[in-house]
C-alpha cells in the first residue's frame, strides 16, 4: 500500500478527534457516584443479586427486546444472502481422531455451561446471551469435527428455526402479558424469591432461558450458513 496524501489526512483527522475526546473527558470531573438506583434498589425490587441482570432484564427490558429483534433480522439477512450458494456436500474440515474425540468431550461441556449460565444468570455473571453463544460454539465445534452433514441430519434446520421464532414469540408474549392484567408492560409478575437463591429474581431466569434459546438457535443458523457456504474469499 503506497502512502497517499489521503492516508496522511486520515491519520491527522483521527488524531485530532482522539485528542479532543480525551481532553473533553479529562476536563470533566469524573467522580460521579454510581447510580444508587441500580445498586441498592434492585434486590428489593427485582430479587436478583446480579445488578447487571436486573438492569437489562428488568429495568431496561425493552432494550433487550429490541436487541433480540435486531439479532433476528441479522440472522434472516445472513440466511437469505448465503442460502443460494450452499454447497450440497461439505467435507469435514478436520478428520483427525484427536479432534473428533475432543469435540465429543467438549460439546456436552459447552451445553452444560450454557445451561448453567442461563439458569443462574440472576445470581452470578453470565446471562442468556453468553449462554446461547457458548452453546452455539459447542455446536460449531462438533460441526467442524464431524462434518456439517452429520450435524444437519441430527439437528434439522426447521427445528432450529422453530426454536428461534418460538422463543422470540414467547418472550414477546411474556413482556406484553401484564397489560391485560392491569399492570404496565414489561412488568415482572413472578415472585421475587430469596436473594441468592436459584429461584429468585422474578421472571429474570425465565427471560434468561428464553434468550439463551433464541441466541443459540440464531447463532447456530448464522454459523451453519457460513460453514455451508463455499467461502469465496
Amino acid at each position: 500500500m503506497r502512502p497517499r496524501p489521503f492516508h496522511l489526512l486520515a491519520i491527522v483527522c483521527t488524531v485530532c478527534v482522539v485528542l479532543v475526546v480525551l481532553l473533553a473527558f479529562h476536563s470533566v470531573d469524573p467522580e460521579t457516584a454510581p447510580h444508587a438506583t441500580y445498586v441498592e434498589r434492585p434486590v428489593a425490587e427485582t430479587g436478583a443479586t446480579n445488578r447487571v441482570a436486573s438492569v437489562y432484564l428488568n429495568y431496561r427490558l425493552y432494550d433487550s427486546l429490541l436487541e433480540l429483534l435486531v439479532f433476528f433480522v441479522a440472522v434472516l439477512g445472513v440466511r437469505f444472502y448465503l442460502g443460494a450458494r450452499e454447497r450440497p456436500d461439505v467435507p469435514p474440515l478436520a478428520e483427525s481422531e484427536v479432534v473428533r474425540t475432543s469435540a465429543a468431550l467438549l460439546f456436552p461441556l459447552a451445553v452444560l455451561l450454557g445451561v448453567y449460565l442461563a439458569a443462574l444468570g440472576q445470581i452470578s455473571p453470565g446471562g442468556g446471551f453468553g449462554a446461547g453463544v457458548i452453546a452455539a460454539s459447542g455446536l460449531l465445534l462438533t460441526s467442524i469435527a464431524l462434518g456439517i452433514d452429520a450435524i444437519d441430519r441430527r439437528i434439522r434446520r426447521n427445528a432450529m428455526e422453530r426454536i428461534e421464532r418460538g422463543a422470540l414469540l414467547v418472550l414477546l408474549l411474556l413482556m406484553l402479558l401484564p397489560l391485560p392484567l392491569g399492570r404496565p408492560a414489561f412488568a415482572d409478575l413472578l415472585p421475587k424469591g430469596a436473594p441468592g437463591a436459584v429461584l429468585s429474581g422474578g421472571s429474570i431466569p425465565l427471560y434468561n432461558v428464553l434468550i439463551a434459546l433464541k441466541v443459540v438457535a440464531g447463532a447456530w443458523l448464522i454459523l451453519r450458513s457460513f460453514v455451508r457456504h463455499r467461502g469465496e474469499i
Binding site: 441482570a53 474440515l93 455473571p125 452455539a136 460454539s137 460453514v227 467461502g231 474469499i233
Partner: protein, 262 residues
C-alpha cells in the same frame, strides 16, 4: 493495578500489529488475541458479564466466521493481473488464454477455479505466502525467490516505454491507457521521469494510443509468459508443467493462442 495498566497498554499495540498484517488470516487471529486480552481487561474493570460475553463472542464466534469466510476448500486459487488476451474480465465472465489453460487444469484436477484480480506486484507476494496457489496474468519470467515458475507457454518480449525524447529533455506526451494496470498511476505512465517496462500483450494494448517510436526500447532477450506457483507446492508445479506440456504437444496450445490472441 500494575497488571491492569500493562494489559490496557498492550491492547492498542496488539490491535495495531494485527491490523497491519499482510495476510488476512494473521490479521484475523491477531484480532482474536486482541479479543481475549480485551475480555481479561473487562474482568479487571469489574465487569464479569461483559468479560464472559466478549470472550465467547469476540474470541469464539467472530473469529470463527471470519476464518470460515476466507477458507478455500477444494479450490485452485489463482491471483492474476488483467492482461489483454491472456486474462481479461468481460462482464461476468473471464476470457483469455491463461484463464482457459488454468480452467482446464482445474477441471483436470477436480477442483473449482477461483480467480482474484490483484495488482501486478502483489501476485508474487500472494503466491509466495501461500494465500494463492497460482499466479497468472502475463507474468514474465524473472528471478523470484520462493516461487516456482512453470515453463513458458507463450513467447513475448519486453518493452520499455517512456523516458525523455532524445535531446529535447521533455517528457513523452500523455496517452490514454486501457485501465489494465491497477497498480500504475495513470499520470506516471508516460512522464519523463518514469520509464515503464511492459510486456508484449500490454504494450500492444497501450500502443493503440500514440506512442512516439523513439521512446520505445525493445529488450533483446526473448522472454516467455509463465505461471508462478507457491514454492512449497512442488506437486502442483509439476502437475501444471506436465499439463501445459501436454497441451503443447497436442497442438491445443497453438489453437488456443490463435483463438484468444488473434
Amino acid at each position: 493495578m500494575i497488571a491492569r495498566t500493562a494489559l490496557l497498554a498492550l491492547l492498542p499495540i496488539v490491535a495495531a500489529i494485527a491490523l497491519t498484517q499482510r495476510r488476512r488470516l494473521t490479521a484475523i487471529i491477531g484480532m482474536g488475541l486482541f479479543s481475549f486480552l480485551l475480555a481479561v481487561s473487562y474482568l479487571l474493570l469489574h465487569a464479569p458479564d461483559v468479560a464472559l460475553t466478549e470472550a465467547t463472542i469476540g474470541l469464539g464466534l467472530i473469529t470463527a466466521i471470519y476464518v470460515l469466510a476466507i477458507r478455500r476448500t477444494g479450490r485452485l486459487t489463482v491471483v492474476a493481473d488483467e492482461a489483454p488476451g491472456l486474462f481479461v474480465r468481460e462482464g461476468d465472465r473471464i476470457v483469455g488464454l491463461e484463464h482457459e489453460i488454468l480452467a482446464r487444469f482445474a477441471r483436470h484436477l477436480g477442483l473449482d477455479l477461483s480467480v482474484q484480480f490483484v495488482p501486478h506486484r502483489d501476485v508474487a507476494d500472494l503466491v509466495r505466502s501461500g494465500e494463492a496457489d497460482v499466479g497468472a496474468g502475463g507474468w514474465v519470467l524473472g528471478e523470484e525467490a520462493g516461487v516456482f515458475a512453470t515453463r513458458p507457454h507463450l513467447d513475448t518480449a519486453l518493452f520499455t516505454v517512456g523516458g525523455t525524447k532524445e535531446g529535447t529533455g521533455e517528457g513523452v506526451p500523455r496517452v490514454r491507457y486501457e485501465g489494465y494496470f491497477a497498480d500504475l498511476d495513470p499520470k506516471s505512465l508516460y512522464t519523463a521521469e518514469t520509464p515503464v517496462t511492459l510486456d508484449l500483450a500490454r504494450f500492444l494494448a497501450v500502443q493503440r494510443s500514440d506512442v512516439p517510436d523513439d521512446s520505445v526500447t525493445r529488450h533483446p532477450q526473448p522472454r516467455g509468459y509463465a505461471f508462478v506457483v507457491n514454492g512449497r507446492r512442488r506437486d502442483l508445479h509439476s502437475a501444471l508443467d506436465a499439463y501445459i506440456e501436454r497441451l503443447r504437444e497436442d497442438g491445443e496450445l497453438d489453437r488456443l493462442a490463435g483463438r484468444f490472441l488473434a
